[in-house]
């Protein structure tokens, strides 16, 4: 990575140090806990699918039963494996039987303890195998069709109806999209369960369900063949079901998932203990499944001012990076988030934006970076908005971003219409072609506005990260250090789903994840 900004390596080092300490604190905290969603994720990994007659997911029924039985603090895996072993039923049937009260859920008797553990390991290994196969399928697609050139062009579909979504996703692929994200229905992150089945009624988005993941996957595989380029599917490992979402992503071959340490806390008022505990587990799942995660720093700039709060974005990128690396994610899996949200009528904003975007590239040279388009200053003027998006595309190309979210001229109005995305892709592809090597060609004046701006923002991040390290992340959130939003450690939704692990807590999926990650690393070495 050519150094165009003359950033101070010592300042970057200080940021990484402070963020590392913060990550250690968070992960230490998380290691002592589990959550209902982690336990449900374990069941999903072990093969439980579907819902009861009221469409309540069986995994919820089983984990609720485990909670009632006081089994959660030692993990649901062992009692569930015991039930499978004892009943001889396949996992889903066993879960249904438990839900219907036909099969007891309890710790194995001592004599069956070891058989139950073996059963748990077997079920977990089946899950691991499925993930392994999924990874291989993706690998083969990528080898055969390629991913197209960078930045990856990323668009959203959000009709609310999975069947309309697939049509639109294919149209996007034809227009050059390389990642298609299905936006979730409003406030799905607040649901403490994942809805079941193919859905056709969402608000502002389409429910994330296992069935919808599959339907979209099949459509995108078709489209990939048609256009001769592997089109990635994206969804959210976020909200109260974060670990389960990551697990479904691993099983159903999603390729990219939004997953952020702080988004749920700040923007969804999810309890911080809950989300940070969920985070640790889901990142390990993403790591093993070869998913790219996209972090959500861009969201900060929808409430805070992009110019004033630029250093908070950078600081959060460091925290997300350090947590992610400790969870086994490789830099190439880190789509660290940022966004072009400056007031376009501010003098030299394009320069400041270039400074910010380039700074992120130079500090995280091996991460693809997820660059989000203008939304805050979009107005409903589709013509001016299209130009704001063009400036964004140019900034993206000029600074070598890895994942480029397409700005829509109809932002501020509605989720995109079918042609909105084609027009956006066309514009961005034209700019990416016409300015292909602009990044290589330009240098920034030493000590000029751009270099100075980058240095100031980096300095701000040093200060903030060291402050957060000193206050502790929980304290910092309570003080509103991010996005101007204050959150209390015991506030928000989902705290009741957090369980401090008892001694003897056991989660065989963790072991499977270790195995998968070890295999990956061995592969890389070979």
């Amino acid at each position: 990575m050519e150094r165009k900004l003359d950033l101070d390596p010592a300042a970057i080092q200080r940021c990484r140090h402070a963020a590392g300490a913060i990550a250690d604190e968070v992960l230490g905290f998380a290691a002592e806990r589990t959550t209902v969603s982690i336990e449900r994720a374990v069941l999903r990994w072990m093969g439980v699918e579907g819902g009861d007659t009221d469409c309540i997911p069986l995994v919820n029924r089983v984990v609720d039963a485990a909670g009632v039985a006081g089994l959660l603090d030692r993990g649901v895996a062992l009692p569930f494996a015991e039930a499978v072993r004892a009943s001889g039923l396949p996992p889903t049937d066993a879960a249904r039987a438990i839900a219907e009260g036909r099969l007891p859920l309890r710790a194995p008797d001592a004599e069956f303890e070891s058989a139950a553990r073996d059963m748990a390991r077997t079920l977990s290994a089946i899950g691991a195998d499925r993930v392994r196969r999924t990874n291989r399928t993706r690998q083969r697609f990528l080898e055969r069709l390629g991913e197209g050139s960078r930045p990856l062009l990323y668009v959203i579909v959000a009709s609310g109806n999975i069947h309309e979504d697939t049509v639109q996703a294919k149209v996007c692929a034809k227009a050059g999209a390389q990642v298609v994200a299905v936006i979730r229905s409003t406030a799905q992150s607040l649901l403490d369960y994942i809805p079941e089945g193919a859905t056709t009624e969402g608000y502002g988005g389409t429910y994330a369900t296992q069935a919808n993941f599959r339907i979209m996957r099949a459509a995108l595989d078709d489209a990939s063949e048609d256009v001769g380029c592997y089109v990635r599917q994206c969804n959210y490992a976020s909200g109260l079901c974060m670990p389960e979402m990551a697990t479904l992503g691993a099983l159903e071959r999603l390729d990219v998932m939004l997953n952020d340490a702080l988004y749920g806390i700040l923007f969804r008022d999810i309890n911080m203990q809950r989300t940070l505990t969920d985070q640790a587990f889901s990142r390990r799942v993403s790591a093993a499944a070869g998913l790219i995660i996209n972090t959500g720093e861009d969201n900060y700039l929808t409430t805070a001012d992009a110019f004033d709060a630029a250093h908070t974005v950078l600081a959060s990128e460091f925290i997300n990076e350090q947590i992610a690396l400790r969870c086994g994610l490789k830099p190439a899996q880190l789509g660290l988030g940022h966004a072009m949200q400056m007031n376009p009528w501010r003098e030299d904003m394009f320069l400041y934006e270039v400074a910010q975007a380039r700074m992120a590239r130079e500090i995280f040279p091996d991460c693809p970076l997820k660059y989000m388009p203008p939304t805050k200053y979009m107005t409903g003027d589709i013509f001016l908005g299209h130009v704001q998006d063009a400036l964004f595309s140019l900034a993206s190309v000029m600074t070598g971003q890895g994942i480029h979210l397409l700005g829509m001229m109809t932002e501020a109005m509605h989720t995109p219409h079918i042609h909105d995305r084609t027009l956006a892709l066309e514009s961005t592809r034209m700019i990416a072609t016409a300015a292909r090597h602009l990044e290589d060609e330009i240098e920034f004046k030493p000590g000029g506005l751009i270099q100075t701006r980058a240095r100031v923002v980096l300095g701000g991040a040093v200060g903030l990260l060291e402050q957060v390290r000193d206050e502790g992340l929980f304290g910092a959130l309570a003080h509103g250090r991010f996005a101007d939003i204050r959150r209390a450690p015991d506030g928000g939704r989902g705290l009741d789903g957090v369980v401090v692990k008892a001694t003897g807590y056991w989660n065989p999926v963790e072991d499977s994840l270790d195995t998968l990650l070890a295999e990956r690393d061995a592969e890389v070495v070979r």
């Binding site: 409003t186 008022d269 989720t415």
Partner: protein, 258 residues
């Protein structure tokens, strides 16, 4: 349309009884239209696009862009000469009529007349999590260089934040003895905002609290007209400043008291 705008602002030769679009010559009626069709691009689809434009009342429609979007869809950009006209003299639009007052005038008006601070409860309700708009009106910091209502000595503000159910809001209104409630709605997909706002008014009325309570709503797709239809006292759209809301609250409260 009232002609209280300086008359020089109406271009000469304009007949307010029959206003139509203007491209570059008075009366040319030119409009630009774009849309997709769920059929692939083809000469027939082009003709279909043209016929749609004709049905919309466009004479001499010209298709300037046709694009096959793939998978059976096509996109069209059409220009044409609109046959329709509007009699602007017959248009009457309900408007917020409160005068523009200064920060000091608003405080004085309230404190002199009420002898106390008005209690204001605000929230972004339903599943809507977009607090930036209501915060812009209520928070100290304010918006577009103007203080929010919290900064006014005349108001006591309770901002409940986002995703507040109508039930929670009602409880808060009772608890605080609010004088006015400000509801924000930003997400409008499938008209969720309309049903949510209508439900709120119903609940307030069912609870017997409507009397003496000023009901406001706001958001980028809210207009005063729609707000009135829904049973609110006022509605505020995109770009509203806190002072506009403060001025309306002060004047309306005083007006009603009399």
């Amino acid at each position: 349309m009232t002609n209280d705008d300086s008359p020089t602002r109406i271009p000469s030769g304009i007949d307010l009884h029959a206003i139509g679009p203007y491209g570059d010559t008075l009366g040319d009626g030119i409009v630009q239209v774009s849309f997709s069709l769920p059929i692939p691009a083809s000469p027939e689809a082009r003709e279909a696009a043209r016929r749609l434009a004709v049905q919309m009342g466009l004479n001499e429609p010209q298709i300037y862009r046709e694009a096959d979007l793939g998978y059976g869809f096509s996109f069209w950009i059409v220009y044409g000469k609109c046959r329709h006209h509007v009699d602007v003299t017959r248009i009457v639009v309900p408007k917020i009529t409160s005068a523009a007052l200064s920060f000091e005038e608003i405080n004085a008006l309230v404190l002199d007349n009420a002898g106390r601070r008005l209690r204001i409860v605000g929230a972004c309700t339903g599943t809507d999590a977009h607090t930036v708009g209501i915060d812009a009106i209520l928070n100290m910091k304010g918006f577009a260089g103007e203080y929010g209502l919290e900064r006014y000595p005349a108001f006591e503000v309770f901002n409940l934040g986002s995703q507040v159910t109508n039930g929670t809001l009602l409880a808060k209104v009772r608890e605080t003895g609010a004088d006015a409630v400000l509801v924000s709605q930003v997400v409008t997909q499938k008209d969720v905002h309309l049903s949510n706002l209508a439900e709120w008014v119903d609940m307030v009325e069912a609870d017997g609290l409507r009397q003496g309570l000023l009901l406001l709503c706001g958001g980028p797709r809210i207009t005063h007209e729609v707000a009135l239809e829904l049973g609110f006292d006022a509605g505020f759209g995109a770009g509203t400043t806190p002072r506009q809301v403060a001025a309306w609250l002060a004047q309306e409260w005083v007006r009603r008291k009399k």
